[in-house]
């Protein structure tokens, strides 16, 4: 009767957002890891912004080049700012590279290479944690801790000249609390990252991902590990450089 060609009503749409598949083409566990990391980014930025605002509001602050000027574990006690933290930063960047190489080997389903790079990543993680332990021990031996600062006589070593003692004590305490809280929270993330990496490596050794046909789990822990590196980049800048 009619010559008008009607649009077929039952045509199946196949655009990315018409349902039935992930519009992002990312597997569920991986996207959830991303959203977890997003929430973790908010936690870390809250801590760092709290640090920033307390530091901005303080008239004086302990000089980073005087607080961090030794290389713990060696005889270099004074006059070497940034050397030790430079080593720590290098270790963490290097372990991030070994992680991404493990992910890359995973894409080629090369089990031996994944194991090698995962073990390198775990060693890097332990090296970083050991350095952090040395750094904490060094600051603790100088008198810094949660709720503790060095004695009146030694406190002025950590400040520029000519600052009243009351101001020194006040901001040294703020610095100590913030330093141990933020690097402690980051160190805890590194520690859990190492534990997760060990679990995944055991699974790789057991052949779990060969049976599954994909090394996607390596990619997911890789995201977490890179995030830990990412946070360190910011902690390093705001505690040691600024």
């Amino acid at each position: 009767m009619s010559t008008v060609v009607a649009q077929p009503v039952d045509e199946i749409k196949s655009t990315p957002w018409s349902g039935g598949k992930s519009p992002f083409e990312v597997e569920y566990g991986k996207i959830m890891m991303w959203f977890f990391l997003l929430s973790d980014a908010f936690t870390f930025s809250s801590l760092l912004i709290a640090y920033g605002s307390l530091r901005f509001s303080a008239p004086v602050w302990p000089a980073a080049s005087k607080v961090f000027q030794s290389v713990p574990g060696t005889s270099l006690e004074q006059g070497y700012p940034l050397v030790f933290v430079g080593i720590m930063t290098f270790i963490l960047i290097a372990s991030s590279v070994t992680m991404v190489l493990a992910v890359e080997a995973g894409h080629r389903n090369s089990r031996k290479e994944v194991i090698g790079w995962m073990i390198a990543t775990i060693i890097g993680g332990f090296m970083f944690l050991s350095c952090q332990a040395l750094e904490w021990n060094h600051l603790h031996s100088e008198g810094f801790w949660w709720g503790h600062i060095p004695t009146k006589e030694t406190l002025e070593e950590f400040f520029d000249k000519g600052i009243p003692l009351a101001q020194q004590q006040f901001t040294a305490q703020e610095f100590a609390n913030l330093f141990f809280t933020i690097t402690g929270f980051h160190g805890f993330h590194v520690f859990s990252g190492v534990i997760i990496n060990i679990i995944i490596t055991i699974n790789v050794l057991a052949g779990t991902y060969d049976r599954r046909g994909s090394y996607l789990m390596v990619e997911k822990v890789g995201l977490y590990w890179h995030f830990v590196d990412l946070v360190w980049v910011f902690v390093f800048t705001f505690f040691y450089l600024v």
Binding site: P16, S22, P23, F24, E25, V26, E27, Y28, G29, I31, W34, L38, A41, F42, S45, S46, I49, A50, G52, S53, L54, F56, S57, A58, P59, P81, L82, G86, T89, F90, I93, A94, S96, V97, M99, V100, L101, V103, E104, H107, R212, G213, S214, L216, E219, G222, L223, H226, F227, D229, L230, V233, F234, T237, L241, V242
Partner: protein, 113 residues
């Protein structure tokens, strides 16, 4: 589990973006930026006491490092645009918190002095 395997194979083509050569070049870039930060901190900053243009340099270099880690190591550059926006746009809220709290801390300075 079967869903996971099919998705992986569907995605496989996109992972060619990250070759071993590229991984190492990103590593050298990150190391290079860190070395520049050290040069600024050890060789340049001591000559300019209380200069207020040094901290912005550190922050810009840090953001560069963050970009390289997120884009290449975390592979976000090679994901779908929707995925990238889902991760990056919420981060912008942090700028709001920075603005609010730096403003507040300027007020605290006044109270303390």
């Amino acid at each position: 589990m079967s869903a996971e395997t099919t998705d992986v194979h569907a995605e496989h083509g996109e992972h060619e973006g990250m070759t071993r050569k590229r991984i190492w070049s990103v590593f050298w870039i990150l190391l290079g930026i860190t070395v520049v930060e050290f040069i600024v901190a050890l060789a340049i900053a001591p000559h300019f006491e209380h200069a207020n243009w040094i901290n912005p340099i550190y922050i810009v270099l840090t953001l560069f490092k963050a970009y390289f880690i997120v884009a290449f190591f975390m592979h976000l550059k090679f994901e779908k645009v929707g995925m990238v926006l889902a991760i990056i746009v919420p981060i912008l809220f942090i700028i709001g918190l920075i603005l609010v709290l730096t403003n507040e801390s300027h007020y605290w300075v006044g109270l303390r002095l």
